[in-house]
Protein backbone atom coordinates (compact mmCIF):
# COMPACT_ATOMS: atom_id res chain seq x y z
CA UNK A 1 0.00 0.00 0.00
CA UNK A 2 2.65 2.63 0.92
CA UNK A 3 4.63 1.92 -2.26
CA UNK A 4 1.61 2.19 -4.52
CA UNK A 5 0.80 5.45 -2.79
CA UNK A 6 4.32 6.73 -3.47
CA UNK A 7 4.02 5.63 -7.10
CA UNK A 8 0.78 7.56 -7.46
CA UNK A 9 2.38 10.56 -5.79
CA UNK A 10 5.10 10.70 -8.44
CA UNK A 11 2.72 10.30 -11.38
CA UNK A 12 1.67 13.31 -13.37
CA UNK A 13 -1.81 12.03 -14.23
CA UNK A 14 -4.55 11.65 -11.64
CA UNK A 15 -4.53 8.22 -10.02
CA UNK A 16 -7.66 6.22 -10.56
CA UNK A 17 -8.82 2.88 -9.41
CA UNK A 18 -9.60 0.73 -12.41
CA UNK A 19 -12.04 -1.60 -10.73
CA UNK A 20 -13.67 0.89 -8.43
CA UNK A 21 -17.16 0.49 -9.79
CA UNK A 22 -19.64 -2.26 -9.28
CA UNK A 23 -20.51 -4.30 -12.37
CA UNK A 24 -23.22 -2.86 -14.62
CA UNK A 25 -26.74 -4.10 -13.85
CA UNK A 26 -27.82 -7.28 -15.59
CA UNK A 27 -31.11 -9.11 -15.99
CA UNK A 28 -32.08 -11.42 -13.15
CA UNK A 29 -31.25 -15.06 -13.82
CA UNK A 30 -34.16 -17.50 -13.48
CA UNK A 31 -32.50 -19.29 -10.57
CA UNK A 32 -29.89 -18.80 -7.84
CA UNK A 33 -28.47 -21.09 -5.17
CA UNK A 34 -28.80 -18.33 -2.58
CA UNK A 35 -31.02 -15.25 -2.65
CA UNK A 36 -30.19 -12.56 -0.10
CA UNK A 37 -33.05 -10.15 0.49
CA UNK A 38 -31.59 -6.78 1.40
CA UNK A 39 -28.44 -5.11 0.04
CA UNK A 40 -27.27 -3.41 3.19
CA UNK A 41 -24.04 -4.10 5.04
CA UNK A 42 -25.24 -7.44 6.41
CA UNK A 43 -26.56 -8.72 3.09
CA UNK A 44 -23.46 -7.92 1.07
CA UNK A 45 -21.16 -9.12 3.89
CA UNK A 46 -22.96 -12.48 3.86
CA UNK A 47 -22.58 -12.65 0.08
CA UNK A 48 -18.89 -11.74 0.37
CA UNK A 49 -18.09 -14.48 2.89
CA UNK A 50 -20.20 -17.05 1.00
CA UNK A 51 -18.05 -16.39 -2.06
CA UNK A 52 -14.75 -15.99 -0.24
CA UNK A 53 -14.82 -18.83 2.29
CA UNK A 54 -17.33 -21.27 0.85
CA UNK A 55 -16.97 -20.85 -2.94
CA UNK A 56 -20.70 -20.21 -3.31
CA UNK A 57 -21.06 -17.56 -5.99
CA UNK A 58 -24.42 -18.28 -7.63
CA UNK A 59 -25.83 -15.69 -5.26
CA UNK A 60 -28.14 -12.73 -5.84
CA UNK A 61 -28.41 -9.84 -3.42
CA UNK A 62 -31.77 -8.14 -4.02
CA UNK A 63 -32.00 -4.55 -2.81
CA UNK A 64 -35.18 -2.50 -3.18
CA UNK A 65 -33.33 0.84 -3.09
CA UNK A 66 -29.62 1.23 -3.55
CA UNK A 67 -26.60 -0.45 -1.97
CA UNK A 68 -26.29 0.41 1.73
CA UNK A 69 -29.05 3.03 1.42
CA UNK A 70 -31.18 1.84 4.33
CA UNK A 71 -30.16 1.59 7.94
CA UNK A 72 -26.54 0.93 6.94
CA UNK A 73 -26.43 4.62 6.03
CA UNK A 74 -28.51 5.77 9.01
CA UNK A 75 -26.69 4.40 12.04
CA UNK A 76 -24.14 6.41 13.99
CA UNK A 77 -21.29 4.02 13.14
CA UNK A 78 -20.27 2.92 16.63
CA UNK A 79 -18.16 -0.23 16.94
CA UNK A 80 -17.85 -1.74 20.42
CA UNK A 81 -18.13 -5.01 22.30
CA UNK A 82 -18.60 -3.98 25.95
CA UNK A 83 -21.88 -5.81 26.38
CA UNK A 84 -23.13 -7.63 29.45
CA UNK A 85 -23.80 -11.28 28.63
CA UNK A 86 -21.07 -13.74 27.66
CA UNK A 87 -23.04 -14.64 24.52
CA UNK A 88 -23.21 -10.98 23.50
CA UNK A 89 -19.61 -10.12 24.34
CA UNK A 90 -18.22 -13.14 22.47
CA UNK A 91 -20.21 -12.24 19.37
CA UNK A 92 -19.51 -8.50 19.30
CA UNK A 93 -15.82 -8.80 20.19
CA UNK A 94 -15.31 -11.11 17.22
CA UNK A 95 -16.86 -8.36 15.09
CA UNK A 96 -14.58 -5.70 16.57
CA UNK A 97 -11.54 -7.84 15.69
CA UNK A 98 -12.76 -8.28 12.11
CA UNK A 99 -13.35 -4.52 11.70
CA UNK A 100 -9.69 -3.87 12.58
CA UNK A 101 -8.54 -5.71 9.46
CA UNK A 102 -11.26 -4.72 7.00
CA UNK A 103 -9.48 -1.84 5.23
CA UNK A 104 -6.54 -4.11 4.43
CA UNK A 105 -8.81 -6.94 3.40
CA UNK A 106 -10.77 -4.73 0.99
CA UNK A 107 -7.74 -2.67 -0.07
CA UNK A 108 -10.20 0.16 0.44
CA UNK A 109 -10.22 2.63 3.31
CA UNK A 110 -13.24 2.22 5.58
CA UNK A 111 -11.83 5.03 7.79
CA UNK A 112 -11.71 2.74 10.79
CA UNK A 113 -10.70 4.79 13.80
CA UNK A 114 -10.15 3.11 17.16
CA UNK A 115 -10.67 6.01 19.51
CA UNK A 116 -12.19 4.21 22.47
CA UNK A 117 -15.67 4.52 23.90
CA UNK A 118 -16.45 5.98 27.29
CA UNK A 119 -19.78 5.38 29.03
CA UNK A 120 -20.50 7.51 32.08
CA UNK A 121 -22.04 6.23 35.32
CA UNK A 122 -24.02 8.62 37.49
CA UNK A 123 -25.33 6.21 40.14
CA UNK A 124 -23.84 3.52 42.38
CA UNK A 125 -26.01 0.89 40.71
CA UNK A 126 -24.58 1.78 37.30
CA UNK A 127 -21.03 1.63 38.68
CA UNK A 128 -21.69 -1.92 39.89
CA UNK A 129 -23.14 -2.90 36.49
CA UNK A 130 -20.10 -1.37 34.75
CA UNK A 131 -17.73 -3.34 36.96
CA UNK A 132 -19.44 -6.52 35.86
CA UNK A 133 -19.34 -5.49 32.19
CA UNK A 134 -15.63 -4.66 32.45
CA UNK A 135 -14.87 -8.10 33.92
CA UNK A 136 -17.00 -10.00 31.39
CA UNK A 137 -15.36 -8.05 28.58
CA UNK A 138 -11.83 -8.68 29.84
CA UNK A 139 -12.62 -12.37 30.28
CA UNK A 140 -13.36 -12.62 26.56
CA UNK A 141 -10.24 -10.72 25.52
CA UNK A 142 -11.67 -7.20 25.19
CA UNK A 143 -9.99 -4.11 26.56
CA UNK A 144 -12.41 -2.53 29.00
CA UNK A 145 -11.88 -1.09 32.45
CA UNK A 146 -13.60 1.00 35.05
CA UNK A 147 -12.01 4.44 35.45
CA UNK A 148 -12.54 7.26 37.93
CA UNK A 149 -13.41 10.95 37.51
CA UNK A 150 -9.76 12.04 37.31
CA UNK A 151 -9.02 9.77 34.35
CA UNK A 152 -12.30 10.80 32.70
CA UNK A 153 -11.29 14.45 32.98
CA UNK A 154 -7.96 13.68 31.34
CA UNK A 155 -9.61 11.76 28.50
CA UNK A 156 -12.36 14.33 27.88
CA UNK A 157 -11.30 17.72 29.29
CA UNK A 158 -14.38 19.47 27.87
CA UNK A 159 -16.87 17.22 29.69
CA UNK A 160 -19.08 18.72 32.41
CA UNK A 161 -18.49 16.41 35.37
CA UNK A 162 -21.82 17.33 36.93
CA UNK A 163 -24.34 17.21 34.07
CA UNK A 164 -27.98 17.80 35.05
CA UNK A 165 -26.93 17.63 38.73
CA UNK A 166 -25.92 14.02 38.27
CA UNK A 167 -22.21 13.85 39.11
CA UNK A 168 -20.06 11.53 37.00
CA UNK A 169 -18.98 8.82 39.44
CA UNK A 170 -17.08 6.53 37.11
CA UNK A 171 -16.72 5.54 33.49
CA UNK A 172 -16.62 2.30 31.54
CA UNK A 173 -13.58 2.86 29.33
CA UNK A 174 -13.68 0.54 26.34
CA UNK A 175 -10.41 0.92 24.47
CA UNK A 176 -11.58 -1.27 21.57
CA UNK A 177 -14.42 1.17 20.88
CA UNK A 178 -14.15 2.60 17.37
CA UNK A 179 -15.95 4.18 14.50
CA UNK A 180 -15.73 3.68 10.73
CA UNK A 181 -17.36 5.02 7.63
CA UNK A 182 -20.53 2.93 7.42
CA UNK A 183 -21.10 3.42 3.67
CA UNK A 184 -17.55 2.30 2.93
CA UNK A 185 -18.12 -0.97 4.79
CA UNK A 186 -21.07 -1.77 2.52
CA UNK A 187 -19.13 -0.67 -0.57
CA UNK A 188 -16.09 -2.73 0.37
CA UNK A 189 -18.12 -5.87 0.89
CA UNK A 190 -20.20 -5.29 -2.25
CA UNK A 191 -17.09 -4.80 -4.36
CA UNK A 192 -15.43 -7.90 -2.93
CA UNK A 193 -18.57 -9.97 -3.42
CA UNK A 194 -19.27 -8.87 -6.99
CA UNK A 195 -15.62 -9.40 -7.98
CA UNK A 196 -16.06 -13.00 -6.88
CA UNK A 197 -19.18 -13.46 -9.03
CA UNK A 198 -22.04 -12.49 -6.75
CA UNK A 199 -24.81 -10.47 -8.44
CA UNK A 200 -26.03 -7.32 -6.73
CA UNK A 201 -29.42 -6.19 -8.03
CA UNK A 202 -30.38 -2.72 -6.87
CA UNK A 203 -33.87 -1.27 -7.36
CA UNK A 204 -35.15 -4.84 -7.06
CA UNK A 205 -37.85 -5.14 -4.46
CA UNK A 206 -38.97 -8.52 -3.17
CA UNK A 207 -42.76 -8.41 -3.30
CA UNK A 208 -43.51 -11.95 -2.17
CA UNK A 209 -41.81 -15.07 -0.86
CA UNK A 210 -43.31 -18.32 -2.14
CA UNK A 211 -43.26 -21.16 0.37
CA UNK A 212 -44.27 -24.68 -0.67
CA UNK A 213 -44.32 -27.63 1.76
CA UNK A 214 -42.46 -25.60 4.38
CA UNK A 215 -39.65 -24.57 2.01
CA UNK A 216 -38.96 -21.41 0.06
CA UNK A 217 -39.06 -22.14 -3.65
CA UNK A 218 -38.99 -18.71 -5.23
CA UNK A 219 -39.12 -15.01 -4.53
CA UNK A 220 -41.20 -12.57 -6.56
CA UNK A 221 -39.69 -9.20 -7.34
CA UNK A 222 -40.73 -6.13 -9.28
CA UNK A 223 -38.36 -7.39 -12.00
CA UNK A 224 -39.65 -10.93 -12.21
CA UNK A 225 -39.62 -14.18 -10.27
CA UNK A 226 -36.46 -16.08 -9.34
CA UNK A 227 -36.11 -19.62 -8.02
CA UNK A 228 -33.82 -20.06 -5.08
CA UNK A 229 -32.12 -22.89 -3.26
CA UNK A 230 -32.45 -20.93 -0.06
CA UNK A 231 -33.13 -17.35 1.01
CA UNK A 232 -31.81 -15.05 3.70
CA UNK A 233 -33.68 -12.00 4.88
CA UNK A 234 -31.40 -9.15 5.94
CA UNK A 235 -33.84 -6.25 5.90
CA UNK A 236 -33.24 -4.38 9.15
CA UNK A 237 -36.16 -2.06 9.77
CA UNK A 238 -38.61 -4.21 7.82
CA UNK A 239 -37.98 -7.64 9.32
CA UNK A 240 -41.56 -8.27 10.46
CA UNK A 241 -42.96 -7.20 7.10
CA UNK A 242 -40.66 -9.52 5.13
CA UNK A 243 -41.29 -12.38 7.57
CA UNK A 244 -45.03 -11.88 7.04
CA UNK A 245 -44.48 -12.47 3.30
CA UNK A 246 -42.81 -15.78 4.21
CA UNK A 247 -45.76 -16.55 6.48
CA UNK A 248 -44.63 -16.14 10.09
CA UNK A 249 -44.53 -13.55 12.87
CA UNK A 250 -41.47 -12.28 14.72
CA UNK A 251 -40.87 -11.05 18.28
CA UNK A 252 -40.04 -7.57 17.02
CA UNK A 253 -41.48 -4.07 17.41
CA UNK A 254 -40.28 -1.39 15.03
CA UNK A 255 -39.39 2.14 16.17
CA UNK A 256 -37.61 5.05 14.52
CA UNK A 257 -34.34 6.29 16.01
CA UNK A 258 -33.40 9.90 15.43
CA UNK A 259 -29.89 11.25 15.26
CA UNK A 260 -28.40 14.59 14.30
CA UNK A 261 -25.15 16.31 13.49
CA UNK A 262 -23.72 19.80 14.06
CA UNK A 263 -21.62 22.04 11.87
CA UNK A 264 -17.93 21.01 11.88
CA UNK A 265 -15.61 22.37 14.57
CA UNK A 266 -11.95 21.85 15.49
CA UNK A 267 -11.11 18.40 16.84
CA UNK A 268 -11.78 18.39 20.59
CA UNK A 269 -13.34 15.04 21.36
CA UNK A 270 -11.35 11.88 20.82
CA UNK A 271 -13.37 9.07 22.47
CA UNK A 272 -17.01 8.34 21.79
CA UNK A 273 -18.82 9.48 24.93
CA UNK A 274 -22.21 8.30 26.14
CA UNK A 275 -24.13 8.77 29.33
CA UNK A 276 -26.20 5.95 30.78
CA UNK A 277 -28.51 8.28 32.70
CA UNK A 278 -28.92 11.05 30.12
CA UNK A 279 -29.62 8.58 27.28
CA UNK A 280 -27.36 10.48 24.98
CA UNK A 281 -24.20 9.68 23.08
CA UNK A 282 -21.85 12.13 21.51
CA UNK A 283 -18.97 11.67 19.11
CA UNK A 284 -16.93 13.86 16.81
CA UNK A 285 -16.48 12.61 13.26
CA UNK A 286 -13.27 12.78 11.27
CA UNK A 287 -14.75 15.82 9.52
CA UNK A 288 -15.24 17.63 12.83
CA UNK A 289 -19.02 17.38 13.00
CA UNK A 290 -20.53 16.28 16.29
CA UNK A 291 -22.98 13.40 16.05
CA UNK A 292 -25.72 13.03 18.66
CA UNK A 293 -27.93 10.04 19.14
CA UNK A 294 -30.21 8.72 21.81
CA UNK A 295 -32.69 5.94 22.30
CA UNK A 296 -35.41 4.87 19.91
CA UNK A 297 -38.62 6.91 19.69
CA UNK A 298 -41.31 6.38 22.36
CA UNK A 299 -43.82 4.63 20.10
CA UNK A 300 -43.60 2.29 17.07
CA UNK A 301 -43.55 3.71 13.58
CA UNK A 302 -42.28 2.89 10.08
CA UNK A 303 -41.38 6.47 9.31
CA UNK A 304 -38.15 8.46 9.38
CA UNK A 305 -39.80 11.77 10.23
CA UNK A 306 -38.21 14.20 12.64
CA UNK A 307 -39.77 15.42 15.88
CA UNK A 308 -39.01 18.60 17.76
CA UNK A 309 -39.55 17.01 21.18
CA UNK A 310 -36.82 14.44 20.61
CA UNK A 311 -34.41 17.11 19.40
CA UNK A 312 -35.17 19.26 22.42
CA UNK A 313 -34.69 16.52 24.98
CA UNK A 314 -31.64 14.97 23.34
CA UNK A 315 -29.86 18.27 22.77
CA UNK A 316 -30.69 19.47 26.29
CA UNK A 317 -28.84 16.42 27.58
CA UNK A 318 -25.96 16.86 25.14
CA UNK A 319 -25.54 20.46 26.26
CA UNK A 320 -25.51 19.34 29.88
CA UNK A 321 -22.59 17.09 29.00
CA UNK A 322 -20.75 19.62 26.83
CA UNK A 323 -22.08 23.10 27.70
CA UNK A 324 -20.12 24.95 25.00
CA UNK A 325 -22.07 23.06 22.35
CA UNK A 326 -25.00 25.40 23.03
CA UNK A 327 -23.29 27.79 20.61
CA UNK A 328 -23.16 25.29 17.76
CA UNK A 329 -25.67 24.98 14.97
CA UNK A 330 -27.38 21.79 14.03
CA UNK A 331 -26.58 20.97 10.43
CA UNK A 332 -28.89 18.07 9.67
CA UNK A 333 -30.92 15.32 11.25
CA UNK A 334 -32.16 11.95 10.12
CA UNK A 335 -33.73 8.81 11.44
CA UNK A 336 -33.24 5.10 11.04
CA UNK A 337 -35.77 2.35 11.59
CA UNK A 338 -34.90 -0.01 14.43
CA UNK A 339 -36.33 -3.51 14.79
CA UNK A 340 -36.32 -3.84 18.56
CA UNK A 341 -36.44 -7.18 20.33
CA UNK A 342 -37.51 -7.31 23.95
CA UNK A 343 -34.06 -8.52 25.10
CA UNK A 344 -32.04 -6.12 22.90
CA UNK A 345 -30.27 -8.98 21.12
CA UNK A 346 -30.56 -9.90 17.44
CA UNK A 347 -32.51 -12.75 15.89
CA UNK A 348 -30.23 -14.88 13.75
CA UNK A 349 -30.40 -18.35 12.32
CA UNK A 350 -33.26 -20.63 11.42
CA UNK A 351 -36.87 -19.67 10.84
CA UNK A 352 -40.11 -21.70 10.78
CA UNK A 353 -39.51 -22.05 7.01
CA UNK A 354 -36.87 -24.72 6.38
CA UNK A 355 -34.46 -23.02 3.97
CA UNK A 356 -35.26 -19.42 4.90
CA UNK A 357 -32.68 -17.88 7.21
CA UNK A 358 -33.04 -14.89 9.47
CA UNK A 359 -30.74 -11.97 10.00
CA UNK A 360 -33.09 -9.68 11.87
CA UNK A 361 -33.89 -7.85 15.06
CA UNK A 362 -30.99 -5.49 14.55
CA UNK A 363 -32.46 -2.69 16.65
CA UNK A 364 -29.61 -0.35 17.45
CA UNK A 365 -26.73 -2.85 17.28
CA UNK A 366 -26.61 -3.76 13.59
CA UNK A 367 -23.69 -1.81 12.12
CA UNK A 368 -21.18 -2.99 14.72
CA UNK A 369 -22.11 -6.62 13.92
CA UNK A 370 -21.75 -6.37 10.15
CA UNK A 371 -18.55 -8.44 9.65
CA UNK A 372 -19.26 -11.24 12.13
CA UNK A 373 -22.85 -11.37 11.03
CA UNK A 374 -21.84 -11.83 7.40
CA UNK A 375 -19.32 -14.50 8.35
CA UNK A 376 -21.64 -16.53 10.58
CA UNK A 377 -24.65 -16.24 8.26
CA UNK A 378 -22.44 -17.47 5.40
CA UNK A 379 -21.39 -20.46 7.53
CA UNK A 380 -25.03 -21.19 8.33
CA UNK A 381 -26.06 -21.12 4.69
CA UNK A 382 -23.03 -23.03 3.40
CA UNK A 383 -23.58 -25.83 5.91
CA UNK A 384 -27.21 -26.16 4.86
CA UNK A 385 -28.63 -24.94 8.15
CA UNK A 386 -26.12 -25.98 10.81
CA UNK A 387 -26.18 -23.04 13.22
CA UNK A 388 -22.69 -21.78 14.21
CA UNK A 389 -22.11 -21.82 18.00
CA UNK A 390 -21.49 -18.08 18.09
CA UNK A 391 -25.03 -17.25 16.94
CA UNK A 392 -26.92 -20.21 18.45
CA UNK A 393 -28.01 -18.13 21.49
CA UNK A 394 -29.70 -15.64 19.14
CA UNK A 395 -32.16 -18.14 17.61
CA UNK A 396 -35.70 -16.82 17.32
CA UNK A 397 -37.09 -19.72 19.34
CA UNK A 398 -35.25 -18.47 22.44
CA UNK A 399 -38.42 -16.50 23.09
CA UNK A 400 -40.53 -19.67 23.01
CA UNK A 401 -38.41 -21.25 25.76
CA UNK A 402 -37.93 -17.97 27.70
CA UNK A 403 -34.16 -18.00 27.27
CA UNK A 404 -33.54 -14.39 26.29
CA UNK A 405 -30.08 -12.85 26.02
CA UNK A 406 -30.64 -9.68 27.98
CA UNK A 407 -28.53 -6.80 26.70
CA UNK A 408 -30.91 -4.00 27.57
CA UNK A 409 -28.64 -2.41 30.17
CA UNK A 410 -25.65 -2.50 27.84
CA UNK A 411 -27.57 -1.25 24.82
CA UNK A 412 -30.28 1.28 25.56
CA UNK A 413 -29.01 4.59 24.29
CA UNK A 414 -25.37 3.80 24.92
CA UNK A 415 -24.60 2.39 21.47
Amino acid sequence: MPFSLLKYGLKSDYPFEQDADLPAPTELKPSYDVVIIGGGGHGVATAYYLAKYHGITNVAVLEKGYLGGGNTARNTAVIRSNYLTSEGVKFYSESVKMFEGLSNEFDFNIMYSQRGQLTLAHTDATVRAFRQRAEVNKHFGGRTELIGPQEIKELVPTLNMNPAHMPVLAGLWHMDGATARHDAVAWGYAKGATQRGVELHQLTEVTDVIVENGKVTEVKTNRGTVNCGCAIQAVAGHSSLMAAKAGFRMPITTYPLQAMVTQPVKPFLDPLVSSSALHCYVQQTGRGEIVFGGGSDPYPLYNTRSTLELKESLLAHAIEMFPFMANLRLMRQWAGITDMTSDYSPIMGLSPVENYYLDAGWGTWGFKSTPICGKTMAELVASGGKVPDLIAPFAMDRFDVFRQVNEMGATAASH
Binding site: M250, P251, T254, L301, L308, F399
Partner: protein, 102 residues
Protein backbone atom coordinates in the same frame (compact mmCIF):
# COMPACT_ATOMS: atom_id res chain seq x y z
CA UNK B 1 -45.66 18.85 19.38
CA UNK B 2 -47.85 16.02 18.14
CA UNK B 3 -51.31 15.99 19.67
CA UNK B 4 -53.09 12.88 20.92
CA UNK B 5 -56.88 13.24 21.26
CA UNK B 6 -57.53 11.60 24.63
CA UNK B 7 -61.10 10.32 25.06
CA UNK B 8 -61.05 11.50 28.69
CA UNK B 9 -58.85 14.62 28.71
CA UNK B 10 -59.24 15.96 25.19
CA UNK B 11 -56.30 16.90 22.95
CA UNK B 12 -52.98 16.72 24.83
CA UNK B 13 -49.28 16.63 23.89
CA UNK B 14 -48.25 13.11 22.92
CA UNK B 15 -45.35 13.25 25.37
CA UNK B 16 -47.95 12.88 28.17
CA UNK B 17 -48.87 9.44 26.87
CA UNK B 18 -47.27 6.01 27.04
CA UNK B 19 -47.62 3.47 24.26
CA UNK B 20 -48.99 0.17 25.59
CA UNK B 21 -48.81 -2.23 22.63
CA UNK B 22 -51.27 -3.97 20.34
CA UNK B 23 -54.76 -4.81 21.56
CA UNK B 24 -54.89 -8.62 21.51
CA UNK B 25 -56.60 -11.43 23.35
CA UNK B 26 -54.74 -12.85 26.32
CA UNK B 27 -54.66 -16.63 26.45
CA UNK B 28 -55.49 -18.17 29.82
CA UNK B 29 -52.08 -18.37 31.53
CA UNK B 30 -53.11 -21.37 33.58
CA UNK B 31 -54.09 -23.51 30.62
CA UNK B 32 -52.19 -22.24 27.57
CA UNK B 33 -48.93 -23.76 26.31
CA UNK B 34 -45.56 -22.02 26.71
CA UNK B 35 -45.57 -21.32 22.98
CA UNK B 36 -48.99 -19.66 23.15
CA UNK B 37 -47.86 -17.53 26.08
CA UNK B 38 -44.63 -16.55 24.28
CA UNK B 39 -46.69 -15.64 21.21
CA UNK B 40 -48.83 -13.39 23.37
CA UNK B 41 -45.99 -11.76 25.28
CA UNK B 42 -43.22 -11.39 22.68
CA UNK B 43 -44.50 -11.90 19.15
CA UNK B 44 -46.26 -9.20 17.25
CA UNK B 45 -47.82 -8.51 13.87
CA UNK B 46 -45.83 -5.25 13.90
CA UNK B 47 -47.79 -4.08 10.88
CA UNK B 48 -47.09 -1.15 8.61
CA UNK B 49 -50.59 0.31 8.41
CA UNK B 50 -53.53 0.92 10.72
CA UNK B 51 -53.08 -0.71 14.13
CA UNK B 52 -55.27 -0.82 17.24
CA UNK B 53 -53.26 -0.15 20.37
CA UNK B 54 -53.43 0.51 24.08
CA UNK B 55 -52.29 3.95 25.20
CA UNK B 56 -52.01 5.42 28.69
CA UNK B 57 -52.44 9.04 29.64
CA UNK B 58 -49.76 8.98 32.30
CA UNK B 59 -50.86 12.06 34.21
CA UNK B 60 -54.41 10.79 34.81
CA UNK B 61 -53.65 7.05 34.75
CA UNK B 62 -56.28 6.50 32.06
CA UNK B 63 -55.94 3.62 29.59
CA UNK B 64 -57.69 3.88 26.25
CA UNK B 65 -57.53 2.50 22.72
CA UNK B 66 -56.15 4.32 19.68
CA UNK B 67 -56.28 3.44 16.01
CA UNK B 68 -53.09 4.71 14.47
CA UNK B 69 -51.35 4.49 11.10
CA UNK B 70 -47.78 3.29 11.67
CA UNK B 71 -46.47 4.63 8.36
CA UNK B 72 -48.05 8.09 8.17
CA UNK B 73 -47.99 8.64 11.98
CA UNK B 74 -51.69 9.67 11.88
CA UNK B 75 -53.97 9.02 14.82
CA UNK B 76 -57.22 7.99 13.23
CA UNK B 77 -59.50 7.43 16.21
CA UNK B 78 -59.29 7.09 19.99
CA UNK B 79 -61.96 5.64 22.25
CA UNK B 80 -62.68 4.29 25.70
CA UNK B 81 -61.93 0.54 26.11
CA UNK B 82 -65.57 -0.04 27.05
CA UNK B 83 -66.34 0.08 23.32
CA UNK B 84 -64.53 -3.26 22.94
CA UNK B 85 -64.54 -4.74 26.43
CA UNK B 86 -68.18 -5.08 27.46
CA UNK B 87 -67.56 -7.17 30.55
CA UNK B 88 -64.96 -6.80 33.26
CA UNK B 89 -61.93 -9.08 32.73
CA UNK B 90 -61.16 -10.95 35.95
CA UNK B 91 -57.59 -12.02 36.69
CA UNK B 92 -57.78 -14.87 39.13
CA UNK B 93 -54.61 -14.85 41.22
CA UNK B 94 -55.75 -18.00 43.06
CA UNK B 95 -55.98 -20.22 40.02
CA UNK B 96 -52.50 -19.07 38.91
CA UNK B 97 -51.07 -19.84 42.35
CA UNK B 98 -52.61 -23.31 42.36
CA UNK B 99 -51.13 -24.03 38.96
CA UNK B 100 -47.67 -23.04 40.18
CA UNK B 101 -47.86 -25.09 43.38
CA UNK B 102 -49.20 -28.12 41.48
Amino acid sequence: MKIMPCPLNGPRNISEFVHGGEVRDMPNPTTCSDKEWAEYVFYSDNQAGVVTEWWLHAASGYWFIAERHTVTDEIIRTYDPSEIFKARVEFSAESTAQEVSA
